[in-house]
């Protein structure tokens, strides 16, 4: 069946079927001077435009307006979702790429403004949030020369030290530190673990799961309360497609919201509404240094999806936005909002402020258990198998409690290799497999928290 009935449509006429905000670049109209602002920034209509947003001809901005536009999106995401509040200590995950660089810059500017306000203010009621930076050194999984990686780290140190005041702590952590033992031991174990995964895509995905676990570890050990990722619209669009392709349609909505609190330290995505192209432009306009580590192109499914989205984007520059908007209509989960502040040390004004902006959970409390490897919420039909594994202390039935995608692409096919594989996984994943349904418990606890006394509690 080549063309299906009402879903088939040619490239020019998607308009009839979706609510698009960005018009398709209309080169024909711009040329005839029909638009009086053809040679002026579309926003301030004063300065000369120097760059284009993804709207093409219709979004030519001058440098200031372009930057303000992007910063505005960032600020709105942060405020509306109460991502960063005064008592927070925020850890920015920095990979060296343009999105990371921009989010670091924006977080810094926000902090800088807050610091100035604090200094100018007699009443020092709202402290300034703290910012730290984490760079994960994955050189043990690649074949870079140590010289290359050292230079990169030097560059990163320089970038971070220039973003002061206020000064920011920088953590440069090798990926193998995810295992409690590090050094040579950790490197070997990581290599063995990755080698044990035969599927290329599985390997890449496992590495990214380890990455987020390591960020959690760094944040938790150093008192950080939020992790900021520079994930932009483009990356999220790719994730939407690749999650769909891997059969993760159920958990997809959990990964693409502004806030993800299923982790111990909530993860926030303030650049969710910013396309990669605009972030790249900003980096070159503002001279923001990027440290390209050339991790090599993704292969397997992730690489294929990336090229696919690129092709679509060339055909229509607003395609990424549409993909993210569509996926944004999927129902999020109850953990896709910032947890309420229970710390009585936090001024009540702040708590009231945060409460007002905390999104109402419109996801039901349907999902109680998570895959121990990728932490994705599992659909209820998986319950029987996870219940079966609950209580078995020695050898948690990891296979049964994992999601179908991890079962296929990460876990070994041969059951006899399972035990060895388990021994290679970081402790955090094994623990999660054992205490599969603690998620529900902690959610219940959150609801009655204010009535509990901290002493005399009996932790189950």
């Amino acid at each position: 069946m080549a063309c299906n009935s009402s879903t088939c449509n040619s490239s020019g006429c998607y308009k009839g079927y979706e609510e698009e905000e960005q018009p398709k670049p209309n080169t024909k109209a711009a040329v005839n001077g029909g638009n009086s602002c053809q040679n002026l920034c579309v926003k301030c209509k004063v300065n000369e435009p120097v760059c284009c947003g993804i709207g093409g001809e219709n979004s030519r901005f001058c440098k200031d307006c372009f930057k303000n536009n992007l910063y505005g999106k960032f600020k709105q995401a942060v405020t509306y979702n109460a991502m960063i509040t005064p008592p927070d200590k925020v850890l920015v995950a920095f990979s060296g790429g343009p999105s990371s660089r921009v989010v670091l810059q924006f977080v810094h500017e926000m902090q800088y403004k807050a610091q100035k306000n604090y200094d100018a203010n007699k009443d020092k009621s709202l402290p300034v949030f703290g910012v730290g930076v984490a760079f994960i050194d994955e050189s043990s999984t690649h074949s870079f020369t140590s010289q290359h990686i050292e230079k990169a780290i030097e560059d990163i140190r320089l970038i971070v030290s220039n973003l002061a005041p206020p000064s920011k702590e920088l953590f440069v952590v090798p990926i193998e530190s995810i295992f409690s033992s590090d050094g040579i031991d950790g490197k070997e174990r990581l290599k063995e673990l990755l080698d044990a995964v035969s599927d290329v895509t599985g390997k890449e995905d496992l590495l990214s799961h380890l990455r987020i676990l390591l960020l959690q570890k760094i944040a938790s050990e150093n008192g950080y309360t939020r992790i900021v990722l520079g994930s932009c619209t483009s990356r999220i669009a790719c994730h939407v497609i690749s999650a769909t392709v891997k059969g993760q349609g159920y958990s997809l909505s959990a990964d693409i919201q502004y806030v993800d609190s299923r982790w111990e330290i909530p993860v926030v995505l303030p650049l969710r509404d910013c396309p990669a192209q605009e972030l790249n432009t900003l980096c070159s306009l503002d001279g923001l240094k990027i440290v390209e580590l050339l991790n090599g192109p993704c292969s397997g499914i992730n690489g294929l999806v990336s090229s696919f989205v690129k092709v679509l984007q060339e055909e229509n520059p607003s395609r990424e936005c549409t993909i993210v908007r569509t996926a944004g209509k999927l129902t999020p989960f109850h953990f896709n909002r910032v947890p309420e502040i229970h710390d009585s040390n936090v001024p009540s004004a702040t708590r009231r402020h945060q409460k007002r902006y905390t999104l109402k959970p419109n996801g039901s409390l349907s999902s109680d258990s998570f895959c121990p490897i990728c932490n994705s919420p599992l659909k209820k039909s998986n319950f029987p198998s996870s219940l079966r594994s609950h209580g078995s202390q020695q050898n948690p039935d990891l296979f049964a409690s994992a999601c179908s995608s991890c079962q296929f692409q990460i876990l070994p096919k041969d059951p006899s290799l399972m035990e060895e594989f388990l021994s290679l996984l970081p402790q955090q994943m094994i623990t999660k497999a054992k205490h599969g349904d603690q998620g529900n418990f902690s959610l219940l606890r959150e609801q009655i928290q204010e009535f509990l006394f901290s002493d005399g509690e009996n932790e189950i």
Partner: protein, 355 residues
């Protein structure tokens, strides 16, 4: 060269199911090595299971098989007759074909369907766009060009199938949509922002609250396997793509899925699974179902899409119903494209349907 009766010969690839015959092929879905007989068996059995588990049919049902003459519908007709016989479904099967009026494509494929009628012994009914709407696809393309023609064809075909089904007085229509089609549709709906369709497109039975329910027995069947089945069984089908299809947006999704299948065959089923699992709120704004004022067909708007498009064609407004033109009384001045050849056929009423 070597006979089939030397199973233990070292180096010979054996069928992984029966372990007797030599493997003749690799299953596209699972990459298992399998012999022809076992392939037929597993192919047919999987479809039988899908029919049972989803309760697609009940005894005594009159079923129209949407037959285009292409591989999907030919194999569907063949397999359904076979399973109907083998497992006593108790169904009355018919072939229902739509003539869109595409020269060099449809007229040839209709010959194939006519042959199928004889080969499978299933009564055939053909409905044509010309009779129903007064326009052939060729005429439509002459008027509107090569973009959006798939929209016209798809909308008209859907109604045409329902009309034909009503004339045959059947209980259900079975179409040959396969796993690849549905996976493409899931991706397309994500790309185009159609959340409402996204929630419906993976259903194996659709339109239960409409005139004629439809089902897709091939929902989990890979296109490659359908081709393989048709090839080995030497089934008679017409294998050319519609001449207007290269411009369709679906092509992007199709290319991608082809590449995907090469790396990971099960990805096609995974996309369908994702589509089924998407958390879409049931309170999401869904179109309200009513009837078309002009022809009585099921519609969520005042006029059904076919009537809107027809009106556009008959008034020389090819963009009516495409893009964001609001309703039928909008300013048609900009879009007026006076074709030199004015349609001599008066606009045909869609006709009332006796449902």
């Amino acid at each position: 060269m070597e006979a089939d009766s030397k199973p233990k010969k070292s180096g010979a690839r054996l069928c992984c199911v029966c372990n007797q015959n030599r493997a003749a092929l690799k299953r596209p879905k699972t990459l298992e090595q399998i012999c022809r007989e076992c392939f037929y068996a597993v192919f047919e059995e999987e479809i039988h299971q899908v029919i049972l588990e989803n309760q697609l049919f009940k005894p005594g049902d009159r079923i129209a098989i949407g037959a285009s003459g292409g591989k999907d519908s030919t194999v569907l007709a063949y397999v359904l007759s076979e399973l109907n016989r083998r497992h006593n479904y108790g169904l009355d099967l018919f072939l229902l074909s739509v003539d869109e009026g595409i020269t060099g494509y449809r007229d040839d494929s209709l010959e194939t369907v006519k042959r199928n009628e004889l080969q499978y012994g299933l009564p055939l009914k053909i409905v044509s766009y010309k009779d129903l709407y007064g326009w052939t696809m060729d005429e439509i393309v002459k008027m509107i060009g090569l973009k959006n023609n798939c929209t016209f064809c798809g909308v008209f075909r859907r109604q045409a199938l329902d009309r034909g089904a009503a004339l045959l007085k059947v209980d259900k229509v079975a179409t040959g949509h396969n796993a690849d089609d549905i996976a493409e549709t899931v991706l397309l709906n994500i790309l185009r922002g159609d959340i409402a369709r996204l929630s419906r497109c993976t259903s194996i039975i659709t339109g239960e609250d409409g005139p004629i329910p439809r089902c897709k027995p091939f929902k989990y069947t890979y296109e490659k396997e359908i081709v393989m089945y048709a090839y080995f069984k030497k089934l008679d089908y017409f294998s050319t793509e519609c001449i207007y299809s290269p411009n369709a947006y679906r092509g992007f999704a199709r290319e991608f899925i082809k590449d995907l299948e090469r790396i990971r065959p099960r990805a096609i089923l995974d996309i369908i699974k994702s589509g089924e699992d998407f958390r879409i709120s049931t309170t999401t704004k869904m179109p309200e179902q009513g009837t078309c004022e002009r022809c009585g067909y099921i519609s969520s708007q005042k006029w059904c899409k076919a009537c809107v498009l027809l009106e556009g064609l008959n008034r020389g407004l090819p963009k009516l119903g495409i893009g964001r033109t609001q309703g039928l009384n909008s300013d048609g001045k900009k879009d007026r494209k006076r074709d030199s050849r004015t349609p001599s056929i008066e606009s045909k009423q869609c006709g009332s349907l006796e449902f």
